[in-house]
């Protein structure tokens, strides 16, 4: 019996194709980026990047 492969999805944060992660509002965030988001503070260099990318969950043209 052949095993059906789980489809990869493009992460709205890193843009990579990944399998595992969460889906919010039809946007996919991979496990690695989710972990990074949780461990990023407002003063961190990457925080503004996450703010911008997070808009992709809400706005089509973000």
């Amino acid at each position: 019996m052949s095993r059906v492969n789980q489809k990869t999805k493009i992460c709205v944060m890193c843009g990579d194709e990944k399998v595992e992660g969460i889906i919010i509002q039809s946007g996919f965030i991979c496990d690695k980026c989710e972990y990074e988001i949780i461990h990023t503070e407002v003063g961190d260099e990457k925080y503004p990047f996450f703010i911008q990318r997070m808009k992709k969950l809400w706005l089509k043209n973000a």
């Binding site: 489809k7 889906i23 509002q25 949780i38 407002v42 703010i51 911008q52 809400w58 706005l59």
Partner: protein, 240 residues
């Protein structure tokens, strides 16, 4: 029982879509006419929270999605802070993701209560940080760079002159000496000095103005002035 089945079905649907990599075309716009998914009922939330410690991504996704209204509601409260609503919703969403990942079911509080605090805290931290950046200036702030690439820093131009402290003291002493010397003059001479150099009100009048006020010619005021200054200098020299 029905609620449990409903949640199970929703989770299954979520997993199927996830497995197939399909995206639903439900993109909600902030302030748009489309409504966000409704919040979970207490029972629905309890069922999902039971499964949360297993790290099930479908459960996490549902918990996050069904609390998005909370994010928009809280973000709108900070609408008057100068940060645009899209940014506020993004920051709130980060707070919500953090909340779902750090929620402790043993604490026996509602996820919405905990999430509200996390969302609000995330936005407040951002605003505080932003305000700090706006009002703070670093001493190492480069003001200019010359042709050789040398930076002129704010700290390079800051500093106090060597005589900053003594200058004021000396001025005070000079004032006292001048006042003492003025006492040696007659009333008309005193008046001329006060009017010409604004010793009382800080307004310096011209020789013409003073001459008109005292009913004498301007050339006479000029001669008197020279004589009075000479005398004041002598009086001050005597005191030093």
């Amino acid at each position: 029982m029905f609620v449990r089945l409903k949640i199970k079905f929703q989770l299954l649907w979520h997993r199927i879509l996830f497995f197939l990599g399909l995206k639903t075309e439900e993109i909600h716009y902030i302030g748009g006419s489309e409504t966000l998914p409704p919040p979970l009922t207490r029972e629905e939330e309890e069922i999902l929270l039971e499964k949360l410690p297993n790290g099930d991504n479908a459960v996490k996704s549902m918990l996050i999605e069904r609390n998005l209204r909370l994010v928009v509601y809280i973000a709108r409260k900070f609408d008057n802070t100068g940060v645009n609503i899209e940014d506020l919703v993004s920051i709130g969403s980060i707070g919500l993701i953090k909340a779902v990942n750090t929620f402790d079911i043993d604490k026996k509080i509602k996820l919405a209560t905990y999430a509200s605090r996390c969302i609000e805290n995330e936005i407040l931290m951002f605003l505080r940080r932003n305000n700090k950046i706006k009002t703070e200036v670093s001493f190492d702030e480069p003001l200019n760079i010359d042709w050789d690439g040398n930076e002129l820093l704010l700290s390079d131009i800051l500093g106090t002159e060597n005589d900053t402290i003594s200058k004021n003291l000396e001025e005070e002493v000079d004032k006292k000496l001048l006042n003492k010397a003025l006492e040696k003059l007659n009333d008309r001479e005193k008046m001329i000095m006060k009017l010409r150099f604004g010793l009382e009100d800080g307004v310096e009048k011209t020789q013409k103005d003073v001459a008109d006020m005292l009913g004498i010619s301007q050339s006479y005021i000029s001669r008197l002035e020279k004589r009075i200054i000479k005398r004041l200098r002598k009086e001050i020299d005597k005191m030093i």
